[in-house]
Every structure is written in structure tokens, then in C-alpha cells.
């Protein structure tokens, strides 16, 4: 298995674990933990392709920095999204005194 | 690629810096130098060479005994790291004594003077006391995290000490991204303060940890933004190069340090205040103030773990004071033109001693700031002022860095500063006091 395959497998397993956390956790903040894991898996993918595959040899039109550039924006956006998500969870907590997602069913039929 | 600001830097140094004191960045060698290529080093027994002596001696002895090269490199690196740690641990011991003596003198009493001539053995006595104390861990505490937290507070401080240039061509690890490394490592401290507070399992440490984290996170922003001005003007993130670019003298006798520029004056002041807040020192030591919250996140610690917290705090203080000296006070550059014969590490440690003395002086003088005053100061006063230094630095650079720049930039910075300060003091500094975090 090449290093690139190993890293892509690692990132896919991380993505699957993040997805599992989003689907199974009851605490809203732990769902956010899963989302962060998924974002990190995607970032790992970008860095994997940047590190193991020379961009100039494929007559790439983009500069050799596409991987790290995307990852930088992704990290910034992930931080912003975590902040907003946590602010929303705090607001919900103030209303219902609970972060349990199963209790937020007032729109349930 | 069109010629940019960075291209001029890569070609050499800016015109205002004397060429002799600004070598191109790739001459800053790490400790890991093969002995044969030591052409840029001073002679073996000059005082300039003194800090490198242990490593060079060990390398020479090991090479004489025929040890393979990679082992010599590793051994040399370990000796270099050990030198840095030894110097700063003894500085920490001395600092604890000097702090107590200075505070005492400021309070019109004599400090510790029983443990030796003028109390010089007091740190030894403190160390013995800390080591022989019983190590009490509360029953509700999380054992593993409770043990890990003090270690994780000391480790970032020691890591951060490794990238600061202590002398000409003497930085333990001259990273190209030294400044980002420093800030990244400093932000690890926040997580370990939380661990210390939460793992203790009781209310005072938890409250103290939450306050400490909010304080550290709030003051990290103006810290980094005021360092951004320096990065913009120097065009590099590498700390040895930032110090190199502060060589030379304006008007013959004023050093070209960053603090003697119109934006640097204000950015340096902001960095200084934020470094006091980051290190949890008075007047920002609410997280560990004894009359407020027992010992904050360190309440449930005793014996050597408490000594580790103490050590981590002081080493962090030394590291961030070292960064302040590096970024704004010219690092190891001499203050006057004729003093080239004095070894450069003497200037660095002299400036560091002055900055630390000023921290102690401020501790003895100012009362503690309340948590809401602290937060409002950071978010409503310091961040706008820090953001203002960025365009000021740009304007300073593009108006030629001379007298015209001073005339243009100084009012540009002073007027908003005075306005923000007046508005902040009159309308925003205090609020009704709510004990929000004690409601849980």
C-alpha cells in the first residue's frame, strides 16, 4: 500500500467515525465533535494529495499550493462554524435547560 | 513574478539597516553545525562563545572517541537543549527570590533573608519544602488528568523558550516559522489549565479554570495582532531575522528597534500589557488571586505538582518577556553604537532582566482587575487599538520610514487612542456585577 493510499484510508476511517458520532451522540456538543472530525478528515485528504503527488509534473494549471491553501480556508471556516454552532447550542440550552437532542422534539407530530 | 516587498528582502536588507549587522537569514545556523563549517563563529574562548561552549566541548570529545556522526549530533542537541533548560530553571529559581525581595522592598519590608546570605538559598529551601510535601489528590479527582495537567503546563513554556534568539547566531532551534510556533505552543497552555481545573473535581478550581481560560483567550487576540505589525514590517516569521533587521542606528545614536517607531511604540505597549495578562500576573491574576478564589485552578494541588505550576507560570513569563524583547526591543542588538565588544547575549539577558523587573514593579503597584473589567478591556479597548497599529505600520513603511513617517503616523495613532481610551473609561469600563459562572 502506498503512503497515499494509507493516508486516504486513514482519512476515510476518520470521516466514518465522525459520521458515526454525528448520528449516535445525544449531546449536541458531541455532535459538533463529530463534525470537526469529518472536517479534519477532508483536510487530511488535501494534504495527502499535496504531499505525495507532484503538482508540476501533471501540467497542473493551479500553483503547487492548492492543497495547503484549501486547508487554510477550511480550518478558518471550521473554526467559525464551531463558534456559531456552539452559540446556537447555548441559546437552546437557555430555553430548555438541556443539551439532549432527544428532548428537542416540540415540533414532533 | 513582479518585484514585491519580499523580493527586496530576499536580495539583502532594507536600506536603513547597516549592512554589517544584517546577514541574510540562511547564515543563522542551528546548534547542529558540523565542526568543519564553523567559519562564521567567533573564536572558542571569547565571551561571545560562552553559551555554545558546552555543546562544542561535548561534540569535540565525542568525535575524538570515534563516536558515529549521527550520535554526536544527537548528543550535541541534547546538551544544547539541556543548557537552555538549565539556564532558565536557575533563572526561575533566582526570579522567585528576586520577586519576593522586590515586592517586599516596595511594601517597605525586607524579603526573605534567613536562608542564606541575603536569602540567596531561599529557592533551595522552597524546593526542598515542595518536594517533601505530601501529595494530596482529592477523592473526586480524575487521577490521570490531575497528574497530566501540571506537566502539560510546563512543556509548552519550555518549548517556547527554544525559538527565541539569545545572541547573534545563537537560537536553539531557528525555525523559519518561529513566531507561529511560539503562538501555537502558547495556546496549548489554555487546554492544560482547563484540565487542571476540571480534573480537580471541585468548584473553586473549575471557576478559576473558566476564568483563566476566558482571560487567556481574550488577551491572545491583541497579543497576536500587535505582533502582526512586526511581521508585516520585517517581512518574515523567523525570529533571528526579525532581530537582525532591528540592527543599525538612526540619527547616529537611536537604535532601530521596533519600539522606537511610531506604530511600534503603541504595538509594543499593547504586547506588553497582553503578556502580563497571558502570564496571569497581577494586575490580571484573578484566576489565581488568593483573596478571590483560593488558588484558582491550582487549588487542589500540593507539593511538587504545585511547584510545577509555579515553574510553568514563571517559565511562560520568561518566554513571553523574551518574545517582547525580541520583537520590539531589538533582541540581542546593542543600544549604542560603540559597544560591539560586549557579547550579544549580555544585551539580551540585560533587556530581559529589565522587562521582568518592570513586571515585578507593576505587580507591586497595581490592584487586581475584576473579571468583567478585564474582559471589557480586552474586547472593547485593546482589540480596536491593536487593529489600528496594522495600517499605521503600513503607512509608516510606505512613507519612507523617516521623519515624514513619524509626522504622518503619530497623530494617526494618537488621536484614535485618546478617543477610544476616553470613551472606554467613561462609558464602557464597568458593568453591573453578575456572578454568572457561580450559578451552575
Amino acid at each position: 500500500m502506498t503512503p497515499l493510499s494509507l493516508m486516504l484510508t486513514l482519512s476515510s476511517v476518520l470521516f466514518a467515525l465522525g459520521l458515526l458520532a454525528v448520528l449516535t451522540r445525544r449531546n449536541a456538543i458531541l455532535v459538533l465533535v463529530g463534525i470537526e472530525l469529518m472536517l479534519n478528515a477532508a483536510n487530511l485528504n488535501f494534504i495527502a494529495f499535496w504531499a505525495f503527488d507532484s503538482p508540476t509534473a501533471h501540467n497542473a494549471v493551479e500553483p503547487a499550493l492548492s492543497g495547503p491553501m484549501f486547508v487554510m480556508f477550511s480550518i478558518a471556516i471550521a473554526a467559525a462554524e464551531a463558534a456559531v454552532g456552539l452559540a446556537i447550542i447555548l441559546m437552546v440550552f437557555r430555553h430548555t435547560r438541556s443539551t439532549d437532542l432527544n428532548k428537542l422534539d416540540s415540533l414532533h407530530g | 513574478m513582479k518585484k514585491t516587498f519580499l523580493d527586496r528582502h530576499r536580495a539583502g536588507c532594507p536600506d536603513h539597516v547597516a549592512r554589517a549587522s544584517c546577514p541574510p537569514p540562511n547564515q543563522n545556523q542551528a546548534f547542529i553545525l558540523p565542526l568543519a563549517a564553523a567559519t562564521a563563529e567567533p573564536s572558542l574562548f571569547s565571551p561571545e562563545f560562552l553559551p555554545r561552549l558546552p555543546q562544542r566541548l561535548v561534540e569535540m570529545i565525542l568525535t575524538n572517541f570515534g563516536v558515529p556522526d549521527w550520535l554526536v549530533t544527537i548528543a550535541g542537541f541534547l546538551v544544547a537543549a539541556g543548557t537552555v533548560v538549565a539556564v532558565f530553571l536557575s533563572a526561575f529559581a533566582l526570579l522567585s527570590l528576586i520577586e519576593r525581595k522586590t515586592l517586599a522592598r516596595a511594601q517597605n519590608r525586607i524579603g526573605p533573608n534567613r536562608a542564606g546570605w541575603f536569602g540567596i538559598l531561599q529557592p533551595v529551601a522552597d524546593g526542598i519544602k515542595m518536594l517533601t510535601k505530601e501529595d494530596i489528590v482529592p477523592a473526586k479527582a480524575e487521577k490521570f488528568l490531575h497528574l497530566l495537567a501540571p506537566i502539560l503546563i510546563v512543556v509548552p513554556a519550555i518549548l517556547a523558550l527554544g525559538v527565541i534568539p539569545y545572541g547573534r547566531e545563537w537560537t536553539p532551534v531557528p525555525l523559519e516559522l518561529g513566531l507561529v510556533f511560539f503562538f501555537a505552543v502558547g495556546s496549548l497552555t489554555e487546554l492544560s489549565v482547563f484540565m487542571a481545573g476540571w480534573a480537580s473535581g471541585s468548584k473553586f478550581p473549575m471557576l478559576g479554570a473558566m476564568r483563566a481560560i476566558s482571560q487567556m483567550v481574550s488577551y491572545e487576540l491583541p497579543l497576536i495582532i500587535s505582533a502582526l505589525g512586526v511581521i508585516m514590517v520585517s517581512g518574515t516569521l523567523s525570529l533571528p531575522h526579525i532581530v537582525d533587521l532591528q540592527g543599525g542606528f538612526q540619527l547616529g545614536f537611536i537604535p532601530s528597534w521596533n519600539i522606537f517607531t511610531p506604530w511600534g511604540l503603541f504595538a509594543g505597549l499593547l504586547f506588553y500589557i497582553c503578556s502580563i495578562a497571558e502570564a496571569n500576573r497581577c494586575p490580571f491574576d484573578l484566576p489565581e488571586g488568593e483573596s478571590e478564589i483560593v488558588a484558582g485552578h491550582m487549588t487542589e494541588y500540593s507539593g511538587f505538582k504545585y511547584a510545577l505550576f509555579f515553574m510553568g507560570e514563571y517559565l511562560g513569563l520568561l518566554a513571553i518577556a523574551g518574545l517582547f524583547v525580541t520583537l520590539f526591543l531589538g533582541g540581542w542588538q546593542a543600544p549604542l553604537p560603540g559597544l560591539g565588544f560586549v557579547p550579544t547575549w549580555f544585551w539580551f539577558f540585560g533587556k530581559l532582566a529589565l522587562v521582568i523587573f518592570s513586571y515585578l514593579w507593576i505587580r507591586a503597584t497595581y490592584p487586581r482587575v475584576r473579571i468583567d473589567q478585564l474582559m471589557r478591556f480586552a474586547w472593547l479597548c485593546m482589540i480596536p487599538m491593536a487593529l489600528l497599529t496594522l495600517p499605521a505600520a503600513g503607512i509608516w513603511h510606505f512613507t519612507g520610514r523617516g521623519l515624514l513617517s513619524w509626522v504622518v503616523v503619530l497623530p494617526l495613532m494618537l488621536v484614535p487612542w485618546v478617543i477610544v481610551a476616553v470613551i472606554f473609561n467613561r462609558r464602557l469600563a464597568t458593568t453591573t456585577r453578575t456572578y454568572r459562572f457561580a450559578d451552575t
Binding site: 502506498t2 503512503p3 497515499l4 493510499s5 494509507l6 486516504l8 484510508t9 482519512s11 476515510s12 470521516f15 466514518a16 467515525l17 448520528l23 449516535t24 445525544r26 449531546n27 456538543i29 465533535v33 470537526e36 472530525l37 479534519n40 504531499a51 505525495f52 503527488d53 507532484s54 509534473a57 500553483p63 499550493l65 495547503p68 491553501m69 486547508v71 478558518a76 473554526a79 462554524e81 464551531a82 463558534a83 456559531v84 456552539l86 452559540a87 447550542i89 | 514585491t4 519580499l6 488528568l145 523559519e176 516559522l177 507561529v180 503562538f183 505552543v185 502558547g186 495556546s187 496549548l188 487546554l191 482547563f194 476540571w198 473549575m206 473558566m210 483567550v217 471589557r376 458593568t431 453578575t434
Partner: protein
């Protein structure tokens, strides 16, 4: 390759801890560990700036934020164990395992492109120039986004009906 072989199992173990641990603060601390290990992996692969930024932003800010919110939303001194419900775990696995299978299959068997290894080096000067010349609109959009997020989160976190509190509650 060797750093990758050492770090990959550690990252997986830490991520499993983040997903599996019962107490929320433990899970959040395992997330911080995962993020720190991924940052070390970036450093080992030559993307030094990205690794340090990951450390400073994710471990130093996002993990602290998550942990802080967990502290604020605690419900007194009750036990924080969440009970396992096997039904939700099985449903989760049912949805996750196919995704994992597809991704892993394409990762291991799908790379038919010819890879040319190179000495991956991220020059900070190049990164800065590219970022602020050809990617400048993206940076400006990001700046607007972050400002909006900061203002929005501060407004959200204000207690309703009181005088404006300190904006430190993110």
C-alpha cells in the same frame, strides 16, 4: 512514510476515543488529542505552516471552545454518563459502514493515476504571496465571514432582556 505509520494508529485510537467515550469532557479531550496528532502529521509531511495553524486554531481555540461550552451547559452535579442505546448504535453503523466501504475501496484500489513523488516543501513566502494576490477575494470573503460570525455569536450569547453583557461569552 515512517511518521505516517506511527501516527495513523494513534490518530485512529484517539478518534475512536472521541466517538466512544461516555463522559462528554473525556470525548472533547480525546478530540483535542486527535487534532494535535493530525497537526503533528501535517508537520511530518512538510506542511509546517498548516500544522502550526492547525495546532493554534483547532487545539488552541476550537477544542477550548468545545470544552468551555461543555462546562457551561452542565446540569449541576449529576452523573454525566450517557447511557448506550444499542438501537441507535446499530442504526449509526448501518449508515456509516457503507460510506466507509465506498471510501476505503476507492482509496485502496482506485488510485490509477501515476503518482510522482516530490519533496513537499511549503515556503511561507510563496504561501503569503499566493494568498494575498490570486486568492485575495477569498481572503476578503473569509474576513467578512469571520466578522459576521463574531458579531452573530456575541449577539446570540447575550442574555435576553438585560443590559449588554461582556462579549466574551462566545
Amino acid at each position: 512514510m515512517i511518521p505516517l505509520l506511527i501516527l495513523a494508529p494513534l490518530i485512529l485510537l484517539a478518534a475512536i476515543g472521541a466517538v466512544w467515550m461516555a463522559r462528554p469532557v473525556h470525548a472533547a479531550l480525546m478530540l483535542a488529542l486527535t487534532l494535535a496528532l493530525v497537526a503533528v502529521l501535517y508537520l511530518a509531511l512538510g506542511a509546517e505552516f498548516i500544522g502550526l495553524v492547525q495546532f493554534a486554531v483547532y487545539v488552541g481555540a476550537v477544542a477550548v471552545l468545545i470544552v468551555f461550552s461543555l462546562l457551561i451547559t452542565r446540569r449541576g452535579d449529576e452523573a454525566e454518563e450517557i447511557e448506550r442505546r444499542p438501537k441507535s448504535l446499530i442504526t449509526g453503523l448501518l449508515c456509516t459502514v457503507p460510506v466507509l466501504a465506498v471510501l476505503a475501496y476507492s482509496a485502496i484500489f482506485g488510485s490509477n493515476i501515476k503518482l510522482i513523488p516530490w519533496e513537499a516543501k511549503l515556503t511561507i513566502a510563496e504561501l503569503g504571496e499566493t494568498l494575498f494576490s490570486s486568492h485575495a477575494p477569498a481572503v476578503l470573503a473569509l474576513a467578512v465571514l469571520l466578522t459576521a460570525v463574531m458579531i452573530g455569536a456575541a449577539l446570540f450569547a447575550r442574555e435576553p432582556g438585560k443590559t449588554p453583557e461582556d462579549p466574551a461569552e462566545k
